[in-house]
Subunit: 675 residues, 2 copies
């Protein structure tokens, strides 16, 4: 068979190619995602460290320059790169505004630098430099002409001035300000450019450091018999804030379909009084731009958003692009759904299972453009109501190209928007969604429990190439995920999973109050579904139960807020322990002023002890000096020295140490003081 | 500062983008060099194994297809890829002609396959399939229309035929020939293409498997007082062939400049009778397209080339793009050289050192295009004389873009041409030259002597990404490189370096007769230059010396020719040994019929013994069965079993075993037979 439609990008170049005399080479620029196809991600104020291989033929000097700009700027900013050895060069720039930034690398053969370097050697060998000064002057004159620079013309004259004597001319040649001027004015015809311009998406800091709390608004009423409302949610805000969460995520808030409505525990037939699943979106009262009447009004939502903002909490809405059979779209736009030969609309299926309460959109519809525009308008609608954080339901069941376009369009207008990808599926699918623009991503954390699982997975997440685009958000539980682990490990298990999520991940979240109240009964043995799940019914929670973990979660979030080390992921390092039940890892701030060491007992049933083998260098600690390991959870302080230190953890007392590493600072009169 | 000239490739796409409904995704196609900027390399008859990540949103099946063609073909060939798991797909194609080949990957959502897969489940669940048969028929009808295919139309009718009964319609649906037809006719509007077309350069087999011998023609005269000639070289061919070499490389054969001619041992002033360095190219008699009068005529060279070809030996010429001050170019094209302010031409320098006998070309000259064309015509000139192999002198001192163009132009017309890059410089520079088109490259082999150095370097060369473009050619010595190792290790050292080069590298070479006669005196202590180097004088060699290694080299090359395992590099595996003085490695043919195991004693002064820990799987040997290790150098045969086997090597007997692994094949009557 033959394929005619495939174009080749190998059209014959002119022979010889234009620019054949450009001698500098730029290769392997990092960071770069899929050959520049996708942007890397940063948050406001972070540095982008850029490296490249830069070299030329022969022995001439080269100059390498990083150029960067905001996407909407006209001109480029340039900063010279420094050689690291082995033809690798490096420098960085800081992203100081939200949105898209661009960067690239350019380089050229630096003849003036070569000439200066050689001049030193010729002089040391006692060679006559007369002709050399003329050569240098020629270069400076050419640059003066290019740059229309009087200072350069002046320097050229000094190099030419035979009457000044060789020593004065040599001093001119080695002058650093002349060198800087010459570097600033290369011959543009001889400058090589890396062939791809690379992009950075710059988000607000919460994209990197966030603490999510999910609750069902309908379960927030103080009256167990009444459907909760936005007003009830507003009353719940101080509770959420007291635990230190800064994103409050609400499952879909829209009218819920009646057709094939699901009952308690996902029963196929709902009773008349049952509220249905919030993900069966759309009814006579409206669809994705409407609010469930029992939750209140748009005005109530706006109040909730504003009250939350006053507590520095973002309200996050759920984007679930699917319809109940009662959704107004179904009648108004049947062309957006797949029609079966028998004239019915195709409901969701995983044959032989049928989900007749859900109609998926048909993204291969001839009318896909109109569908895309409408779905974008849904997001824009809620943005107009003040919402800036969205948790996207099952993004992996809609086309990748759609998300890239939607997120790109929304963030171009509102770069402070955050999208969390709820895709629990195969790794490459999850990664593609992150590359295409999702700000944060759910992970496999809930199912990583053993020491080696945790080390492998978090080494991959924090050290692998994917960290440039994949920002993990760790959830010990969700309304869909009550892990076997949480079902069987009791209070120590909940505490352990919380401390792991809150310290392994700069972003984490819990589905509450199920989490802090340690809800752990599955619908049936072997299931990860909750018994009496809030997905299908409203629940009433006793927030004041004596065994609630709310104080523990509050403490974890306070430690996170007070320790920059825990607010990003790239510094994560695992340290060896001689007991397989103990997991030890650390995180440090970029300036290494703040280092936190976590030791967790993964055995929730027994006390465990062991010897740590700390990588002191990673902790910024000198081997010969004592340091304090200050447990920020218990308040205990341990005086340690060297890499080998003893730890014992009893799960009934707490599953982990979260230790601030306090380095000893020697003051006057040998008085010791710990930072 | 700002940079205006830098273009961004991020022009705004239409919103939504065209093709937004194309749902298949293709990522991470391998092999790929620098995002497809450079071709990979193969030789005639090799397979190219292509892999890609291919997936789509949701749960639909995808089809992935490798497409490929020769550069000069109109249409593409397609071959379906097979899933490897984790969304990775793989297949291969064979390159059956020299020159440029192209490949790419395309993929699409395979609705028909999804439908078939689900139909099986629906049937097993006892669902009514009537509407499903209609859905299937619709898909087949659409394909029939696209493909104008009567067979497909016929299949559609069978699916629609209610009178045939559900069972007959089901049998039609699961028919494999229908499936194949449907796969062959996807909707072209929904096919995704990997955005870059990738290229393969296909060389003749000698590009991968070659044995080089370098000699100075002027030293080939049987009369020590007479300058050797092409006729003398012709007489030397049987000697070269008897040692099994298949490329005979001659240093530059052109007239040698008189100005600043170098004398014996690189003295600055040559005596009147001294011949000068062949790399000081050009004199009154001519330049790069002329032959040194004392070597003979062009006619003599053609005879040499033809006589060599009759022995299956390629004559390789030296491409050294530089001029002596007497080169005709200097007078005819002063614009190709750099003029100094005092009106003199810039000679080669490494300040404060001066090389006044050499004028480098100025590739930044405004007349660089004319220079490029002239230099290309030099290569074309010798190709017209029958030469197809070139060793390029110091390519890293000429622009990279020039080599890419030159080699591309030459190989487009003569794809059987081989270029060996003589760049002993920094790794990234050497790699860039290989990427740009050099067929083979010199390596750091000469300076890798210890066990760990050898393991690290050859693991990098044979397992790293660079193997796709960098073909190593291993030289224990060259006229410029008499290593400290060879100066001090005597006959066992020469033998060891020969066996390492000949078995670690599918391509290797020696500079002879200096090598087989174990020439080892340096010009001065600490120097890697030969004393009385042939670079500056003619020498007379006693080829019949009793201690010559010629028989050993002949044996090595015979073993190489008889064992396909040694004719390529990618199968190289190192095996552990419990004695650090022993190095053990193996190579196997792709079909694993031919496996060779090398054990070398790196200690040339003492006998060493140790236990090997063989990776039997890499050798295709079953742990429970005995196998023969047959030493192809000594003829000895060892009966071994399992991974742990004992070896002892005395350097006075020979520095290495080169063992053919002969697997035991059980025949009738329990008679054992070794393949």
């Amino acid at each position: 068979m033959t394929v005619k439609s495939l174009d080749t990008d190998r059209a014959a170049p002119p022979s010889p190619p234009d620019g054949g005399h450009v001698r500098a080479v730029i290769e392997n620029v990092t960071p770069q995602v899929d050959c520049g196809r996708h942007p890397i991600k940063r948050v406001l104020g972070e540095r982008v460290h850029v490296e490249a291989d830069v070299f030329t033929d022969g022995h001439d000097s080269v100059a390498a320059q990083l150029v960067f700009r905001r996407g909407d700027e006209e001109g480029w900013h340039g900063v010279f790169m420094q050689p690291l050895g082995n033809d690798r060069w490096r420098t960085s720039f800081t992203v100081t505004a939200l949105g898209c930034w661009l960067y690239c690398v350019r380089a050229w053969v630096d003849h003036f630098d070569t000439w200066r370097r050689d001049l030193v050697k010729r002089r040391a060998a006692g060679q006559d430099l007369g002709v050399e000064f003329q050569r240098g002057a020629e270069m400076v004159e050419a640059a003066a002409q290019r740059a229309r620079s009087d200072p350069l013309a002046h320097w050229a004259a000094r190099l030419r001035d035979e009457s000044a004597g060789a020593e004065a001319r040599y001093r001119a040649a080695e002058d650093e300000s002349l060198h800087a001027l010459m570097r600033a004015h290369p011959d543009p015809g001889l400058v090589a450019h890396f062939p791809r311009t690379l992009a950075v998406t710059v988000d607000r800091v919460r994209a990197r450091f966030s603490s999510w709390y999910e609750l069902f608004p309908r379960s927030t009423s103080p009256d167990p018999l009444r459907h909760g409302s936005f007003r009830d949610c507003e009353a719940r805000l101080p509770y959420v804030a007291s635990m230190g969460f800064d994103v409050l995520y609400l499952p879909p808030i829209h009218p819920i379909g009646l057709a094939h409505r699901k009952g308690r525990n996902n029963s196929v037939q709902a009773q008349p009084d049952e509220p249905g699943s919030p993900w069966a979106i759309g009814a006579a009262e409206g669809g994705h731009k409407s609010v469930h009447p029992l939750l209140g009004s748009l005005e109530d939502l706006r109040r909730l958003v504003e009250s939350a903002r006053a507590l520095d909490i973002d309200i996050a809405l759920d984007i679930a692009f699917q319809c109940s059979p009662d959704h107004p779209y179904v009648a108004q736009h049947p062309e957006w759904f797949q029609m079966r030969p028998d004239g019915t609309i195709q409901y969701a299926e995983n044959p032989p299972k049928k989900y007749q309460d859900i109609y998926p959109f048909d993204f291969e519809s001839p009318e896909w453009r109109a569908l895309w525009h409408e779905l974008r308008s849904v997001v824009e609608f809620w943005i107009a109501e003040g919402v800036r954080v969205f948790r996207v339901d099952n993004p992996h069941t809609k086309p990748f190209a759609f998300w890239e376009w939607l997120i790109g369009e929304v963030k171009a207008a509102h770069p402070d928007t955050i999208f969390l990808s709820e895709a629990f599926t195969r790794p490459k699918v999850m990664h593609r969604l992150a590359k295409l623009g999702f700000t944060q991503s759910y992970t496999y954390f809930a199912w990583r429990n053993t020491r080696q699982e945790l080390i492998d997975y978090f080494t991959e997440l924090t050290r692998g190439d994917a960290r440039e685009y994949f920002r993990p958000c760790l959830w010990p539980n969700t309304p869909d995920i009550l892990t076997e682990y949480l079902q069987y490990t009791g209070r120590p298990g909940f505490m352990l999973r919380a401390v792991l999520a809150a310290t392994l991940g700069a972003s984490w979240g819990v589905y509450g109050p199920a989490f802090e109240l340690m809800e752990h009964a599955p619908r049936e043995p072997g299931s990860e579904e909750y018994l009496d799940s809030e997905k299908y019914q409203q629940r009433h929670w006793d927030l004041d139960r004596a065994d609630s973990l709310k104080a523990y979660l509050a403490l974890l979030n306070r430690v996170r807020r007070e320790n920059p080390a825990l607010q990003s992921d790239w510094s994560l390092r695992f340290h060896p322990v001689d007991n397989e039940a103990l997991l030890c890892y650390s995180k440090c701030s970029e300036d290494r002023e703040n280092c936190v060491l976590i030791v967790a007992n993964l055995d929730v049933h027994h006390a465990q002890s062991g010897w740590l083998e700390l990588d002191l260098d990673a902790l910024g600690v000198e081997p010969a000096r004592a340091f304090q390991a200050h447990d920020l959870l218990s308040g205990a302080r341990f005086l340690w020295q060297g890499s080998r230190n003893y730890v014992a953890l009893d799960p009934t007392q707490g599953p982990a140490h979260v230790l601030r590493v306090r380095r000893r600072v020697r003051r006057e009169h040998d008085f010791d003081y710990f930072l």
